[in-house]
Amino acid sequence: MGVIKEFAEALKGLKSLIVGLGITGKEFAKPGVTVHYPRKVVADKDLVTYRGHIELVGSKNDPAMPPCITCLMCQSVCPSGCIKIIKHPPPKKDPAADKNAPPEAYASGLEPKTKAAPPAKEKPVKTPKGFILDYNYCSLCGLCVQSCPVDSLRFSTEFYIADPSKKAFVYDLMARLKAQAGTATAKEKE
């Protein structure tokens, strides 16, 4: 009896092998699912929620200027420290008193918070002078976008980026916004 059982099992096994061949044979006849990348790209509608690198959002009045108030929240929350905001230097009050702190020291945007605030005669410029993103270290967590109190940041849908140099991924987001605003107005004119 053992022999018959063995044979029956072997035949069952053979049948399973043929079933397997049938499945791959069927798949063989079906069309491929590969997207031929350079000739076909991902549709824009599929990129709406895609997280590319961050970019600045133009404010309502001036599309080339973000509503950013340089609160530095994004810069301090970034886990990788890849955002660097350059503030406008505070308005000069007395050239004599200002000797100790030359404007360059403020340019880093790191120290000046606790320094004695300038007398509020002239309103300080709140918009950033520069907004540098070092995309090399960004992990796209989205904490900066979420923590922005004035919704000045969003994700771009840019992902066709490749470059042999690291420097290419240090973005000046202010310049980017200006360029975007420029093309947007050009389109409107057309």
Binding site: A10, L17, G20, L21, I23, T24, G25, E27, F28, K30, P31, G32, V33, T34, H36
Partner: protein, 333 residues
């Protein structure tokens, strides 16, 4: 003119006709093997692609037909690295030993009624004898490369090839018994044009055993144990670079053509077909078998080593023996 009579008193006396035929045939075979291996690699990758719902090679040339040529150029251009501690001579001898006998195995294959290189009374024997060289090359490759993975691969290759040669031989013998000849041409000619006149109709079990053993002999999946990528990284050819690996690759595909040609001649009626017999029927059948081999490779997982040997010694060998006995008895009656 009887050029096939190798049992003549002095086999070394050959007529100029025979010599010319041999030289021309060998040259043609070299071209055929090279071209076919290139085509087969492309076909294999396309088949794999289609089965896996992707296009396969696509970028080099239209539909990627130049891909294999580009790959070959790359392989030829690569540095040949001899690993430290290896036996340099044997190491580089192995791929050559693996590739050269393949030409000889093509000699007695009857492509068409008049398209053949040599017609020999012992054609089957010739092919089987030279097929044994393959295992020597794998063994040398694994041993000489001074790599532990290669060594395990070589040990597997030897056990597998030696084991599977026996049922293969027995299956072939059953056909030779029923025809009373070891001449492939004679066997083909005795079969008719229609499938029910082929030997596969009278010897289905022998065909099945032959095909399984052929898969194992050519180290094709699901029996690709000697190179088992996920276990032994690459088995016997782990250490080979450039054309060293390329020759093994080429030999694998050439061997596939040989076993499929033999299966076609022995079981599928060779160049005989329902209409217009000729080499095209032969090639069609060979390519059909090759496609089945590829289809199987991209469908099944790999068997385990002990299961492979168990399948051979516990199933194929007794079945082949029984088949041979049954054939003998049937012939006697």
């Amino acid at each position: 003119m009887n050029i096939s009579n190798w049992t003549a008193p002095d086999p070394f006396v050959t007529t100029p006709d025979m010599l010319i035929r041999l030289v021309v045939g060998l040259l043609a075979l070299a071209a055929f093997v090279g071209a076919n291996a290139t085509i087969l690699v492309y076909v294999e990758r396309k088949v794999a692609g289609f089965i896996q719902r992707r296009p396969g090679p696509f970028e080099v040339g239209p539909q990627g037909i130049l891909q294999t040529i580009a790959d070959a150029a790359k392989l030829i251009g690569k540095q040949l690295v001899t690993p430290r501690g290896s036996d340099g001579f044997l190491f580089w001898l192995a791929p050559i030993v693996g590739f050269l006998p393949v030409f000889v195995m093509f000699l007695p294959i009857p492509w068409g009624e008049s398209t053949y290189v040599v017609q020999s009374d012992v054609g089957v024997l010739l092919i089987l004898a030279f097929a044994g060289f393959g295992v020597l090359s794998l063994c040398l490759a694994g041993w000489a490369s001074a790599s532990k993975w290669g060594l395990i691969g070589a040990a597997r290759a030897v056990a597998q090839s030696v084991g599977y040669e026996i049922p293969l031989l027995l299956a072939v013998l059953a056909v030779c018994f029923s025809h009373g000849s070891m001449d492939l041409m004679a066997i083909v000619k005795e079969q008719g044009g229609w499938p029910w006149q082929w030997n596969v109709a009278t010897q289905p079990l022998a065909f099945f055993i032959y095909f399984v053993c052929a898969l194992a002999e050519t180290n094709r999946a699901p029996f690709d144990l000697p190179e088992a990528e996920s276990e032994l990284t690459a088995g016997f050819h782990t250490e080979y670079s450039g054309m060293g690996f390329g020759l093994f690759f080429l030999a694998e595909y050439a061997n596939m053509i040989v076993v499929c040609s033999m299966a076609t001649a022995l079981f599928l009626g060779g160049f005989q077909g329902p209409a217009a017999p000729g080499p095209w029927w032969f090639l069609l059948k060979v390519y059909g078998l090759l496609l089945v081999m590829m289809w199987m490779r991209w469908t099944y997982p790999r068997v385990r080593f002990d299961q492979l040997l168990n399948l051979n010694w516990k199933w194929l060998l007794p079945l082949a023996t029984l088949n041979l006995l049954a054939t003998a008895v049937a012939l006697k009656l």
